[in-house]
Amino acid sequence: MSERIRLSDIAHGRSGDKGNHANIAVISYTHAGYEWLRTFLTEESVAKYFAPMQPSRVERFEAPNVWGLNFVLHDVLAGGASRSLRIDTQGKTLALTLLQMEIDRPANLEEMIVMKEVLS
C-alpha cells in the first residue's frame, strides 16, 4: 500500500509571469529531493496536472546548483497581465497549486526533508 504525500513536503517554489506564459520554479530541500524532482516532475507530469488550464506547451529548465526546476507553461494566463479576465492575471499563485500535487511517498523520504534547525 503506497502512502501519498504532497510535493510541498519535499519542495518549495515561486511563480510569476512572462507575457501570457507562467513561470513556476520548484526547489527541493535536499539533493535527494532534487533527484526525485528530476526523475518524476517532468514536462509531461506537469502538463497533465495543469491540463484543465490548457497550456499549449510546457518547458522544463534545470538549475542543479540550487536544486531547482523552472517550468514555463505557455499560454495559460488568458492574455497575461494586461488583458486577462482572471483574478490571478500573472500566475502568482500557481506555484502553490503545483506544490499541492499528490505524489507517492518516496522510499527515502527522510533524505528529502530538512529539519528546521539544520537549515541555513
Partner: protein
C-alpha cells in the same frame, strides 16, 4: 578588497513608500536603487504625458525623495539610481531638483533617455519589423493603436552618468538589473566585456530588483518571517572579484530558500538570462550562508550580450471592467454561477470576451479544484469581467451588478464599493531592436 553596498528600496510602482527611507537610514548604503516600471506602466505614463507635457513619470518617487531629504543631508555620499523617469525623465528630474533645493541639498542630477522609440517608430518599421516575440506577428497590424514603444537600455548610460559626477540618476526604461550593474561598473571600472563579472552583478541586480521578495516576501516558509510590518528590504555588498553577499535591513534576512525562490523567479531559462548587458548563467552560481541572515554568492558565469535590445510596445486594445458580489448561504457556488450568467444575459448584448469566476472555489487555477469541494462552500465572491472594443457596452455592464442584490437569489451582498470602473486596456507587444539604431543619451542638469 573594495566593496560597495547597493540596496533596493522599491520593487514596483505601488511598493511601500516607507521602505526606501528605512533602508537608507539603516542600510549604510553607497547606492539606493528604486524600481518603478512594470511592463505596461510606460503606456499609462505615455498617455499622461500626452495630456500634460510635464507629466509621465512615477510620481511616488518625488514623495520618497521629499521624505528622504533629511537622510540625504546626513549621508552626503549616498547616491540614488531610479527608473522613475518613465516617459519623462527630464520633468521628473526638474521636480526632484526643486525638492532638493528646498531642502537645502546640492546634488548633481543626471537623466538617461533614448529608450523612447515612438518618435522614430515609422522611420524604423520598414527596416526593423518589431515582430512580436510571442506570436510572430508583424507590428503593422496594430501600428495605429500603438501608444508607447520603449527599448530596455542597459547599464552603460548609468555608469556614464555617474562618471560625470551624478549623485542622482533618473532614467526612462532600463532593464531592472541594470540599475545595479551601472553603479558597479562605475565603481570597479570593469571592462564591458567582462562577462563573468557582468553576470555576477546582474544576478545581484535580479535578486534585489523586486524589493522584499528576496528577503522574506512570498517565502514558502512564511510562518518564520516574524514581524511582517517591518519585513526588511535587501542590499548587496559587491566585491571587486565579482562575488557578493546579500542581506536585508530587517526581518528574516536572506536565506538559501528565500534567495533561490527569487533567483528562479520569472526567469524562463535560468542558464540564459538575457539582459542588455550580458547573458547571465544563473545555473553557475555557488551559494553559501555567510551568517544566519546573509548569503554569499560566487562563481557566476556569463557570455556576451546579444546585439539587440528588448522593446516593450503597448497598444490600445479596447475596454475592460470587473465587478464583484459576495454570495453566502447554502449552494453558494451554484447561486454565484446563476448570478453571473443572469447578469450577462440581462445586458442583452455579447462581449468580445467575458469571464465568470467564483473566488474561493479555486478561481486562481481554473478547473484544478474538484467540483465536489466547491459545492460544499457556504460563501464565495462572484467576480464577472468583460472585455470589448466598444466602451459603451462595457459601461452598460458596470451598471448591472447592483440590481442582483434585490432581483437575484437570496444571500447576495457585498455591493458597497460602487460600480465597477471601466478601464482602457493596453496590450503588450514584446519585440527586439538592433542596439546600433538606439541612441542612449546622458544629460546632467545644470
Amino acid at each position: 578588497m573594495k566593496t560597495i553596498r547597493i540596496g533596493n528600496g522599491c520593487g514596483f510602482w505601488g511598493d511601500s513608500v516607507d521602505a526606501p527611507i528605512r533602508l537608507a537610514q539603516r542600510g549604510k548604503l553607497d547606492y539606493l536603487t528604486l524600481e518603478y516600471l512594470a511592463e505596461l506602466t510606460m503606456s499609462i505614463l505615455a498617455l499622461q504625458k500626452q495630456r500634460d507635457p510635464a507629466a509621465g513619470f512615477a510620481g511616488d518617487f518625488l514623495d520618497v525623495l521629499q521624505r528622504l531629504a533629511p537622510t540625504l543631508g546626513q549621508q552626503p555620499k549616498l547616491k540614488i539610481i531610479t527608473n522613475a523617469g518613465g516617459m519623462n525623465p527630464l520633468a521628473c528630474a526638474q521636480r526632484a531638483r526643486e525638492i532638493l533645493q528646498k531642502a537645502g541639498l546640492a546634488r548633481r542630477i543626471a537623466i538617461v533617455s533614448g529608450d523612447d522609440l515612438l518618435p522614430q517608430l515609422d522611420e524604423l518599421v520598414p527596416t526593423h519589423p518589431f515582430t512580436n516575440l510571442d506570436t510572430g506577428a508583424a507590428l503593422q497590424s496594430i501600428r495605429p493603436r500603438v501608444v508607447s514603444a520603449n527599448a530596455y537600455l542597459g547599464a552603460k548610460p548609468i555608469a556614464d552618468a555617474l562618471a560625470q559626477g551624478a549623485d542622482i540618476v533618473i532614467t526612462g526604461r532600463v532593464a531592472d538589473a541594470s540599475l545595479t550593474v551601472g553603479p558597479a561598473m562605475h565603481e570597479f571600472g570593469w571592462k564591458w566585456d567582462d562577462w563573468d563579472r557582468l553576470s555576477a552583478v546582474s544576478v545581484a541586480g535580479h535578486l534585489i530588483e523586486c524589493g522584499a521578495q528576496v528577503c522574506g516576501g512570498l517565502w514558502c516558509r512564511w510562518r518564520e518571517v516574524g514581524d511582517w510590518s517591518d519585513i526588511g528590504y535587501p542590499f548587496v555588498d559587491l566585491a571587486d572579484d565579482g562575488t557578493f553577499t546579500i542581506s536585508s535591513d530587517a526581518g528574516p534576512g536572506v536565506t538559501r530558500e528565500t534567495l533561490i525562490e527569487q533567483l528562479l523567479y520569472e526567469v524562463g531559462d535560468p542558464a540564459r538570462y538575457l539582459t542588455p548587458d550580458v547573458v547571465a548563467d544563473f545555473t553557475s552560481v555557488a551559494l553559501e550562508p555567510a551568517d544566519a541572515r546573509t548569503m554569499h554568492v560566487a562563481a557566476a558565469r556569463g557570455t556576451s550580450a546579444t546585439d539587440t535590445y528588448k522593446v516593450s510596445i503597448a497598444y490600445r486594445d479596447g475596454y475592460m471592467a470587473s465587478g464583484t458580489l459576495t454570495i453566502a448561504g447554502p449552494d453558494a457556488v451554484a447561486k454565484a454561477r446563476l448570478c453571473g450568467a443572469t447578469l450577462l444575459k440581462r445586458i442583452g448584448h455579447a462581449f468580445a470576451r467575458s469571464n465568470v469566476e467564483c473566488l474561493g472555489a479555486g478561481a486562481c487555477a481554473p478547473g484544478l479544484q474538484p467540483a465536489a469541494d466547491a459545492a460544499r462552500l457556504a460563501e464565495v465572491v462572484l467576480r464577472v469581467s468583460v472585455h470589448d472594443p466598444d466602451k459603451t457596452k462595457v459601461e452598460r455592464f458596470a451598471k448591472e451588478f447592483a440590481p442582483l442584490v434585490t432581483s437575484g437569489p437570496p444571500g447576495v451582498t457585498g455591493y458597497t464599493t460602487g460600480r465597477p470602473q471601466v478601464r482602457e486596456v493596453f496590450a503588450y507587444w514584446p519585440a527586439l531592436i538592433e542596439k546600433s539604431v538606439v541612441q542612449a543619451k546622458v544629460e546632467v542638469l545644470a
